[in-house]
Each structure stands twice: as structure tokens, then as C-alpha cells.
């Protein structure tokens, strides 16, 4: 019943860090940052796909790569059947109407010299500027502000006059201005108070229902991903270590990393002490990722094979996959 809106196949995006022009020519001293390293994902239409992982795991880079804000090195991104990677500028422009990004920094993504009305009107002018009159666009802006539960009078305010939650709503209004099919929400509640975060979550759910939007929900907040998403993937150092329906992943926690990550999430549990699995150390550098399984340097259940061989994603049934040798019998 649910069709895939986006299929990502073996996507790779590396960053290159060199000392200077000589290293670019001779390739010496060039460091390769394996930010996104062979990702396969299917995002179903009308659903929310959660993407979690620590900072440096490549989740934001993956989000940016889908829009070709970061050029992928290899792989395919199929959006409604056509490959984003191979699109030319005209096609890309069309694609960017249907797919939108909500940025992590709610103030940084708003031009401080434009009023919120102008910010929301900008995509409308760019894409419908010829067909619509000024008044129609102003009307659309007012409708959009109402859709994100802001007073249409807010359109005259500048970003510095807005609170964090309001700025975030302007970001949402701009993202939905062109009636997109797909929105990448990169940490959409970071820096917001609890109750403000709750309003944003409610709002985004309402919009999804009303406008049939598909979300890629990037967050390091496990509680939120559990609450919002239907399917999810856990990333570690540029790789997906576990993916599947959110309920399955949380119940089974097939990968030791998923288990540790979920156990480390602070919960309000009066009267109960839960078992936290403490991971020693920190996420290794993506410049020189460990051989074999990338998680092995911190894994509590590491054994010999982990060093020698990289675990493939193993099918656990019910669209649940996990990349760990423990599941390979």
C-alpha cells in the first residue's frame, strides 16, 4: 500500500581535506572524510522516516546530499522514479519545488534583513512570480502564516523580533509554501523549550495529515524519533547499522549500538532506575574509520570477526535490517 517516494541506493558523499594546492595535484596528504558511505534507504510516501545517530555520523550530510547541496560521489537518489543525481539545473529546480529542507538553526536560515513576510514570499516569487500578482502572493503568505498558527500580522516582523519557536514556524511556513511532497527536517526542535518543541511536533503532524507530506526526520533525540516516525534508520560513522519499522527497532534493538543509544536516552521514570549501557570513548574520526565493523572500537560485544570483515545489512524479517555479525548464523 505504501509506495516508496524516495529510494537511496548506495549513496556516497566524501569530503576532501588537503593541506593546499600541492596535495590536490599530487593527492598526497589528502584526507578523505567518509561522511556518507554507501547508504541504502527507502522512504515511503506519506510517512515519516526517522534518522538518528550521534553528531558526526553523517545524518545531516545525508539530508543535504538529497538536495545536492552536497554533491554525491556515487549512488542514486530516486525521487518519484527519476534520479536526482543525474538531474540538470532545470530539473533540479523543479525537484526543489517538491522537496524542501527545514534547517537546524532556526535563526541562521532566515535572512536578518528580510521581514518574515518577504522570507515566505521568496519561494513563491521565484516559482510563481510570473503567474501571480503581488496581492495574490500576499494572500498566500497570510494563509501560510495561519497554517503554522501565527498571526498574519507577523509578516512585518524581522527575524530578530521573533522568538525561537516563531522563527522555527517561519522556517516551516517557507518550506510548505510550494506545496512540497517531501520535507527533510534537520533537528527541527533543537534549541527550543519543551512546550514549544511540542507545538512544533503537533504542527508538523497536522501539516503531514493535511498536505500528505513525507518527512525525513533527522534528530539525535530518540524519544522524538520514536514518537514521530513510522520507519527509522540508525547511522554510525556514515553507515546505516540498523533500519526498520520504528516499533520493531525500539523493541528488538538488534544492533549493540542501537541498544546503547536507546539505553542512554534520559527518561522521566519516577521510582525506577534503568540500566544504561555506557559506551566508552567517542565516535572515531571519519577520516580513518576502523576496519571491519566501524562500531567495533566501542562495542561491548566485539569479537574477532568484527575486525576482519565488514558486516552487511542482514534481513531480520519484516523489513528490519541490521548490520552486525551477531545476527549472522
Amino acid at each position: 500500500m505504501a509506495v516508496d517516494l524516495i529510494q537511496i541506493k548506495n549513496l556516497k558523499a566524501y569530503f576532501f581535506q588537503g593541506k593546499g594546492i600541492l596535495s590536490k595535484i599530487f593527492g598526497q596528504g589528502l584526507k578523505i572524510i567518509h561522511a556518507v558511505d554507501g547508504i541504502n534507504l527507502n522512504i515511503k510516501k506519506g510517512r515519516t522516516f526517522g534518522l538518528v545517530g550521534e553528531s558526526g555520523s553523517g545524518k545531516s550530510t545525508l539530508g543535504n546530499t538529497i538536495f545536492r547541496l552536497v554533491e554525491p560521489l556515487e549512488g542514486e537518489i530516486l525521487f518519484q522514479g527519476s534520479d536526482v543525481v543525474k538531474m540538470n539545473q532545470t530539473e533540479l529546480r523543479k525537484f526543489r519545488q517538491k522537496a524542501q529542507l527545514i534547517f537546524q538553526d532556526q535563526f541562521g536560515c532566515l535572512n536578518p534583513r528580510m521581514s518574515s513576510g518577504q522570507i515566505i514570499a521568496e519561494p513563491l516569487m521565484m516559482h510563481h512570480g510570473q503567474q501571480k500578482s503581488q496581492q495574490e502572493i500576499a494572500q498566500d503568505v497570510a494563509d501560510l502564516l495561519r497554517a503554522v498558527n501565527l498571526d498574519p500580522e507577523a509578516s512585518v516582523k524581522f527575524p530578530h523580533e521573533l522568538s525561537g519557536g516563531q522563527a522555527r514556524r517561519i522556517g516551516v511556513a517557507r518550506a510548505i509554501a510550494l506545496n512540497p511532497d517531501f520535507i527533510v527536517a534537520d533537528e527541527p526542535t533543537s534549541g527550543l523549550d519543551i512546550s514549544t518543541a511540542a507545538t512544533i511536533l503537533n504542527l508538523m503532524q497536522d501539516l503531514q495529515e493535511k498536505m500528505d507530506i513525507t518527512y525525513l526526520w533527522i534528530s539525535h533525540n530518540m524519544n522524538q524519533v520514536r514518537y514521530m516516525s513510522d520507519d527509522m534508520a540508525v547511522m554510525y560513522l556514515g553507515k546505516v547499522v540498523e533500519t526498520g519499522p520504528t516499533g520493531e527497532v525500539f523493541d528488538q534493538r538488534a544492533h549493540p549500538y542501537t541498544r546503547a543509544l536507546i539505553s542512554a536516552v534520559p527518561q522521566v521514570f519516577p521510582g525506577k532506575k534503568k540500566e544504561t549501557i555506557f559506551l566508552e570513548g567517542e565516535i572515531p574520526s571519519p577520516i580513518n574509520p576502523p576496519s571491519g565493523c566501524r562500531f567495533r572500537t566501542r562495542c561491548p560485544q566485539v569479537f574477532k570477526r568484527c575486525e576482519e570483515e565488514e558486516p552487511p545489512l542482514i534481513d531480520l524479517g519484516g523489513e528490519h535490517f541490521c548490520a552486525c555479525h551477531l545476527h549472522d548464523r
Binding site: E54, G165, D193, T196, L201, H220, Q224, R226, E282
Partner: protein
């Protein structure tokens, strides 16, 4: 068994901004025992950070303490001179760690230099400045890094801050904050910028220190989950006032104030799935234009006439060790606070 280390009573503080007087703290009273962790929660702008800064007296110049006492180990910190604060309290008995470890370290000096600076200041009265002392300081700095769980401290101590990750910088900050005589640690959103796995490590470090060395911690955070795991007691603040206070299990298990109940309800919980989260309508009022009566009444679903008229509801002990500042709860007995 436990004696109070810190007793704050009736602390009232204004920020004087030209013609505007902003009451950032209003009759804040609480006590903190030795070796205990007190969690301070609330939305931004409710006075959590101001409280921490007031205790260590690092407030900006526009702040004016109107009333109140901060009794720490028997002396009122508000009566001490700046010099006495520097000599005995700040950075010695009372230390603070901040939200952004990257901003708290100087990027152009080695960790070694920065840690030894602190040690030298902490030992100022015994300072002789000989070479031998220097070596001792370095040894102690290495010791502290070891305590905070940094691997290979002998080598890492000569690194620069940019060579450390966020979690490790926060460890360095904690290492600096710990002197042998520290009895109160003020942690202001100490783990907010860190990943969950690193956050768990740092929180374990802080609670270990509390239980091993008897250090008391004032743990300021907006993350109720974190507080629930580290804190023995919780204090919920709103618009500069204490709304609820008590043992963590009591406050989170059976909140007596509708605001606490609402905060808990607005978290995406474990079992809730696709049922709407509670969002408290409106926002924290500007502190110079607080509504009369209970400052939360315009946003409160249960507000009655008396909440609007009466004076500010007092903080009253509603059951043993559990304090709440809700009139309805006080007048009508325990309420359920079923927010919809």
C-alpha cells in the same frame, strides 16, 4: 544525617534596565544538603541561570539583589567582599561549569597552561613560584584529567582545545572545576550540547563525584529526563519563582503543580504514539509585566477566579518534603491535573 550545605532564603533579584525593572528571581528559597544533587528545571527565561550566577556572584552589573540570603557553610555569600569571594569561594569551594565547553576554554593556550593557571590561583596564598611547584601543579593537573576519565592524560594535557571533542572539553572543564576543596558544583546546562552517549558519560561522572567526594551539585537543565536520572531533588521554576520542589520521584511521579504536570505531558513519551503532545498555550510572560496573582494563570487550563485575584500563591509544604505554589492544590486538596 545530612546537614544543609547551602541555604537560599527569600532571594529576590532585579535586573535594572533603564526604566524597566525586571524581577528575575522572586523569593526563591531552598536548601541543598551535602552530597546531594538538586535539579533546577523550567522553560528559558524562568531564572534558572540567574540563580546559578547569583550563588557564585557572577551576575552582570545591572543585577541588583533586593533581599535574601545565600548561606553557604554558615556564611552569607551576599555579605562577603569581592576579595573574600575570590579568595575562598569562587573557583574553590563553589565552582561552575557552563553549557558551552568550547567557549569556556581559551583556544590559543594548551590545556596544560589553562589548568595550571587555575591551580595556581587556587593555591595563591601558598604560592612560591619555584620550579618545583610548577611540576607539582602539572602532576595535579594530570591527576584531575585522570579523575574525569580522559585517556592518556600525560600526553593529552599538552594539546590545544581544538584537539579535544566536545565531550572531552566538558571533562576538562569539570577537571578544572574540581579542586580538592570543592563542596558545591553549579552545572548550568552542562550536557546540553553533547550527544546522548557522551551526555550519559558526563552525567555519570557528575553523580559519581557527588557520591564519592560528597560534592553537592546544583544541576540546571531544561531536560527533564536528564534531571530525573541525576537529581535527588527537583525544583521547578517559572517566571522567577519556585513553583514546585521535592524529591524527584514525588515531583515527577505525582506533580502537585499544574505547570509541572504540563511540562511532563509535553514530552514525547515512551508509550504515546501519535497522540498529540500537550503544548501549553502562550509563553512565559515578560518579567516586568507579570500578571497579577499566580503568574501562570493565563496559560493554566485550570485557573479559577482566585488564581487571578489573590496575591502570589505562597510555596507551601503540601506533603512531607514536597512543596507547591498552587492555590487550587492548597485550598481544595490534591488535584489530578488532567491536561487535555
Amino acid at each position: 544525617m545530612s546537614e544543609p550545605l547551602l541555604e537560599v532564603s527569600n532571594l529576590t533579584l532585579n535586573y535594572n534596565l533603564g526604566s524597566r525593572k525586571i524581577r528575575a528571581l522572586d523569593k526563591v528559597s531552598f536548601s541543598l544538603n551535602r552530597g546531594e544533587v538538586l535539579g533546577v528545571a523550567g522553560e528559558s527565561g524562568c531564572g534558572k541561570s540567574t540563580l546559578g550566577l547569583a550563588i557564585i556572584r557572577l551576575l552582570p552589573r545591572v543585577a541588583e539583589i533586593k533581599r535574601g540570603e545565600i548561606i553557604f557553610e554558615g556564611t552569607d555569600l551576599l555579605k562577603l567582599s569581592e576579595e573574600q569571594m575570590d579568595r575562598n569561594i569562587r573557583g574553590r569551594k563553589v565552582t561552575m561549569i557552563f553549557q558551552n565547553p568550547q567557549n569556556a576554554l581559551n583556544p590559543v593556550f594548551r590545556i596544560e597552561t589553562q589548568m595550571m593557571d587555575i591551580l595556581r590561583i587556587q593555591n595563591k596564598h601558598k604560592l612560591s613560584g619555584t620550579r618545583k611547584r610548577r611540576r607539582d601543579f602539572k602532576q595535579e593537573a594530570i591527576e584531575r584529567l585522570k579523575v574525569t576519565g580522559i585517556a592518556d592524560p600525560e600526553a593529552r594535557i599538552s594539546n590545544y582545545p581544538f584537539e579535544f571533542s566536545g565531550g572531552m572539553k566538558q571533562r576538562v572543564m569539570i577537571g578544572m572545576a574540581l579542586s580538592s576543596g570543592t563542596s558545591l558544583l553549579l552545572a548550568d546546562e552542562a550536557t546540553t550540547s553533547l550527544d546522548v552517549t557522551i551526555e550519559a558519560q558526563i552525567n555519570r561522572l557528575i553523580t559519581d563525584l557527588a557520591s564519592q567526594y560528597g560534592t553537592s551539585v546544583l544541576y540546571i537543565s531544561h531536560n527533564l529526563g536528564v534531571l530525573s536520572e541525576v537529581a535527588d531533588h527537583i525544583m521547578i521554576m517559572y517566571a522567577g519563582r519556585v513553583f514546585e520542589m521535592g524529591r524527584t520521584d514525588d515531583v515527577f511521579g505525582s506533580p502537585r503543580h499544574p505547570y509541572s504536570a504540563a511540562l511532563l505531558k509535553s514530552l514525547p513519551g515512551r508509550r504515546t504514539r501519535r497522540n498529540r503532545l500537550l503544548s501549553i498555550s502562550g509563553f512565559v510572560p515578560p518579567l516586568d509585566r507579570l500578571p497579577p496573582g499566580c503568574s501562570f494563570h493565563p496559560r493554566c487550563h485550570f485557573a479559577k477566579e482566585m488564581c487571578r485575584q489573590k496575591q502570589t500563591p505562597p510555596l507551601i509544604e503540601v506533603s512531607k518534603g514536597h512543596w507547591s505554589a498552587c492555590l487550587l492544590d492548597q485550598k481544595r486538596g490534591r488535584q489530578k491535573w488532567q491536561w487535555i
